[in-house]
């Protein structure tokens, strides 16, 4: 069979050395326009012009298979019809001739009965121009149908002749678009595997066969091509391409056998073939079953390749659903693909996709636009705007389209997570502007609060497809989402019992961190929502926080083996410290104070463990904030921890803190807070003995400080300014001077003012 002969590899077409170049050039234009049409939408005034261009014969190479040739010829002939009525009949003949030719080929091997009959019919319908030649050629073909090469030659001649007639028409149109760098070649390929191999599932060709009978696309007249982009989409948007050419006429179908239908189908697709702008995949010959749905990231436009089914985004309500893998409902309207901003004027009318930007961002962009237009031409520019011939290479539509595609990729359910930096930047900008406005009293109105810049809900792509009654997963889905198929979820139970302590601690930290992240997420969401919903979030948050706190397993301070204490183990790890630091702001006061007491109680231990890491300072920030809110009594309690001698020695934790940056900073913070409390007028409500303990502590600190050599003293993270005043209360001048020198505080304003 002619069709079953092994078709040449696609690359051969591309390597065609002496394909009639003129024809190719002429055909290019049509393809470009076709491609542009389908991608960007109708933007030309003269549809006829387009139609004419589009109907030019596609590329032909000398090595085309007979099948391909037939398709080519058929396409071209179908398109001819559209050009003008004069050639219509000829085209019709040509079309009818084609099936005849095909059938002759088929029949060639079988016998000559068929062709004979067809031939007679054909003869009846003869017209003037070129018919006789064609007839002759037919006869030739009849004789030589066994020999493929000769057939090819003949067909080529025949096509050439037809082309010549049209060539002069196309020449004039050539010049307009040759410069378009976006040209892609029309390349032929074989009919899709599905059409030939009945074993392949859902060869939609067969299923839609019946549709064609009642297809009003076929009845389209010359001026209405394409009827409208959206109607094409909604009509016969088969998964594998579409009938761009309305050249199909009913008689053809009647004459054609279903078997040749796929080939005809292919003919229509061939001019569309180069328009594959899907994810860059090699153009492999269909020796494999093509997938039946495109991957998630295929942009939402009409992808007319025969091998790659249409993007799932296209809605085809009228399609028979033989079997649909993957998601069924589109997330985009067809009209989205063709958003004709008919004129792209210099004034930048914000297209729809732009409205998804942050309002501040939009404002900046439009400002730039206006500025750019208002500006006079900068003298440095080599181009003058009028003379720049390359300025319009990309039309507005194309630009919008690219932007739209990229904006679509930005859609997400959770922009705060997925697009964190963008959101954070513009929030910061907003806040800065708000501050400025407060200070400077700017007139500009603040941008409205950004609620949902992006699409709220995304289509959830259920990539694991289960077909009822099947065994296991379908291969198709796993081919597109292999990870999902592998399902790398760690189901193994964590071995809590075995394994060393450190691993366990790390594991706990990870779990708690995840919880903490959720808490912070809740917090963030809460801050964005209106006030009414806050309580609900707050409850949820506090519940979660409580859980984490429980998980920390903070035990009452006792001199138990420190290595055993789980909370301390967590604190020994850098990440554990970070976790605690991040958690502290969310905790209740009691809980936070509990943590502080624990930390100070075990401070020497922690400091010792931290010598390598030096990550304790991360705790300083939240702790100092917390300290600033403590009551006097609690402060005293904490300080007691530091001044209690360590078990088994006379060393004070206090002395050890001097050598550690975090320790000394914490100490200073505590003292500073105490001083602040004392010097303020707020009622302290001290417990009995608090003041004594306080003064004792201060004296002790002073003593230790003066004894410690300066070199051993570590610079604290923050040096509170009221420490000296604190010491002033209780100590003599000399000591103060010494301390001052040691601590390198800024000296007090005037010595006379000192109370001591």
């Amino acid at each position: 069979m002619a069709e079953s002969s092994e078709p040449p590899i696609l690359e051969d077409y591309l390597l065609a050395e002496d394909a009639p170049l003129l024809e190719e050039m002429a055909e290019e234009d049509e393809e470009i326009d076709l491609y542009n049409e389908m991608t960007f939408g109708l933007d030309r005034d003269s549809v006829d012009e387009e139609v004419a261009k589009a109907l030019a014969p596609p590329d032909k190479g000398p090595e085309l298979s007979p099948v391909g040739k037939n398709e080519v010829a058929a396409v071209e002939e179908e398109k001819e019809k559209e050009e003008d009525k004069a050639t219509e009949q000829q085209g019709q003949e040509a079309e009818e001739e084609q099936p005849v030719v095909e059938e002759m080929e088929e029949a060639g091997e079988d016998g000559k009965a068929g062709p004979g009959a067809e031939h007679d019919d054909y003869a009846d319908m003869e017209e003037d121009v070129g018919t006789e030649e064609e007839e002759d050629e037919e006869e030739e073909e009849e004789e030589e149908e066994e020999e493929e090469e000769e057939e090819e030659v003949v067909e080529e001649e025949e096509e050439e002749e037809e082309e010549e007639e049209e060539l002069h028409d196309e020449d004039s149109e050539e010049q307009n678009d040759l410069g378009d760098p976006a040209v892609m070649r029309a390349v032929h390929s074989k009919p899709p595997l599905e059409s030939l191999d009945s074993a392949v599932l859902d060869s939609r060709l067969g299923s839609t066969w019946g549709e064609f009978e009642g297809d009003d696309v076929m009845a389209a007249d010359s001026g209405a091509w394409p009827p409208s982009p959206s109607s094409i989409l909604s009509h016969r948007m088969l998964e594998r391409g579409y009938l761009g050419s309305p050249g199909l006429k009913r008689p053809d179908f009647r004459m054609m056998s279903p078997k040749s239908f796929p080939q005809r189908f292919m003919r229509q697709q061939s001019p569309m073939m180069p328009c594959s702008m899907g994810p860059p995949r090699p153009f492999t010959p269909p020796g494999r079953a093509p997938p039946l749905f495109t991957p998630k990231q295929s942009p939402g436009y009409v992808s007319p390749t025969p091998f790659r089914p249409m993007s799932r985004n296209i809605s085809t309500p009228t399609q028979p659903l033989a079997m649909r893998f993957g998601p069924t409902s589109p997330s985009l309207e067809p009209s989205l693909f063709f958003s004709p901003s008919a004129s792209c004027p210099l004034k930048f009318s914000v297209p729809s996709h732009m409205t998804q930007l942050h309002p501040q961002h939009q404002r900046i962009l439009t400002q730039q636009q206006q500025r750019g237009q208002a500006q006079s031409v900068s003298p440095k520019k080599p181009w003058s705007p009028k003379a720049d011939p390359y300025a319009g290479l990309m039309t507005c539509k194309e630009k919008d389209w690219v932007i739209k595609v990229q904006m679509m990729q930005l859609q997400s359910e959770n922009p705060h997570l997925d697009d964190y930096y963008y959101q954070a930047f513009y929030h910061k900008l907003e806040r800065k502007q708000a501050e400025e406005e407060l200070l400077g009293g700017r007139n500009k109105q603040e941008p409205p609060k950004l609620v949902t810049p992006y699409i709220q809900k995304m289509e959830i792509y259920d990539s694991v497809v289960r077909i009822a009654g099947s065994l296991g997963q379908v291969a198709v889905s796993t081919c597109y989402s292999p990870r999902r198929a592998i399902d790398a979820v760690h189901h193994a139970l964590q071995e809590e019992a075995a394994g060393n302590q450190r691993l366990r601690a790390l594991h706990r930290i990870e779990k708690m961190f995840l919880q903490l992240l959720e808490v912070e997420e809740t917090q963030r969401k809460m801050s964005l929502l209106p006030e009414e919903q806050h309580p609900r979030f707050r409850d949820k948050k506090s519940h979660e926080v409580g859980r984490i706190y429980q998980a920390l397993k903070i035990r009452a301070c006792d001199s138990e083996e420190e290595a055993e204490d789980e909370f301390l183990q967590i604190l020994c790890v850098r990440k554990g410290k970070k976790l605690t630091a991040r958690l502290l702001p969310h905790l209740t006061r009691e809980q936070a104070e509990e943590i502080l007491v624990t930390i100070t109680h075990h401070l020497p231990f922690l400091m010792r463990k931290d010598t390598l890491d030096e990550s304790l300072p991360v705790l300083y920030g939240p702790l100092s904030e917390m300290v600033g809110r403590m009551t006097f009594s609690k402060l005293i309690e904490v300080l007691q921890e530091l001044t209690r001698p360590l078990a088994g020695s006379t060393d004070l934790p206090l002395t050890m803190t001097f050598k550690n940056q975090f320790g000394i900073s914490l100490l200073y913070a505590l003292l500073s807070h105490g001083e602040r409390l004392l010097s303020s007028d707020a009622p302290l409500e001290p417990h009995s003995g608090d003041f004594e303990k306080w003064t004792d502590t201060v004296f002790l600190v002073a003593k230790e400080l003066s004894q410690v050599p300066k070199t051993a003293l570590v610079e604290p993270l923050v040096l509170p300014s009221n420490l000296l005043s604190l010491f002033c209360r209780y100590l003599d001048k000399q000591t103060i001077h010494r301390l001052e020198a040691k601590m390198e505080c800024c000296p007090l304003p005037s010595e006379a003012a000192m109370p001591c």
Binding site: M277, P299, C344, G372, S378, L393, C396, V405
Partner: protein, 130 residues
């Protein structure tokens, strides 16, 4: 990416492209597609070494999108406002060569030192191709 798309018509804007191999291209962006494939016109490759830079005119570039790291507009007013000093091509290439050499030597020393300690760190450039 090109929200200032209108400017491609009115005033051609210079764009700066950083490529994955570290090259910096400056030119007029004429076309772009959804993969960030770029067509740059009157492109100039700018080599920076220290405070100096040199421009090599390259003509028309068609860049495949996957090699683009970032793309940005150049504010034509601020373009000349740079503390960097422009030098001739030969000079900048020489500077670059010297810099490369120095880097390679220090890298060699590092690798040697690590080898002596029994460690080996794979080179960053080979890592890129995962």
């Amino acid at each position: 990416v090109c929200p200032a798309g209108a400017d491609l018509i009115s005033l051609p804007e210079k764009h700066l492209v950083l490529l994955r191999d570290g090259r910096t291209l400056i030119g007029y962006l004429r076309s772009i597609d959804q993969f960030a494939n770029l067509v740059l016109h009157q492109t100039v490759e700018r080599i920076h070494v220290g405070k100096k830079y040199g421009d090599i005119p390259r003509g028309i570039f068609v860049v495949r999108g996957e090699n683009v790291v970032l793309l940005g507009e150049i504010d034509l007013e601020k373009e000349s406002d740079t503390p960097l000093q422009q030098v001739s091509i030969e000079e900048i290439l020489e500077e670059q060569r010297v810099e490369q050499q120095a880097k390679q030597e220090s890298e060699k020393l590092k690798v040697q030192a690590l080898k002596e300690r029994g460690l080996s760190i794979p080179r960053a450039d080979t890592l890129d191709e995962y």
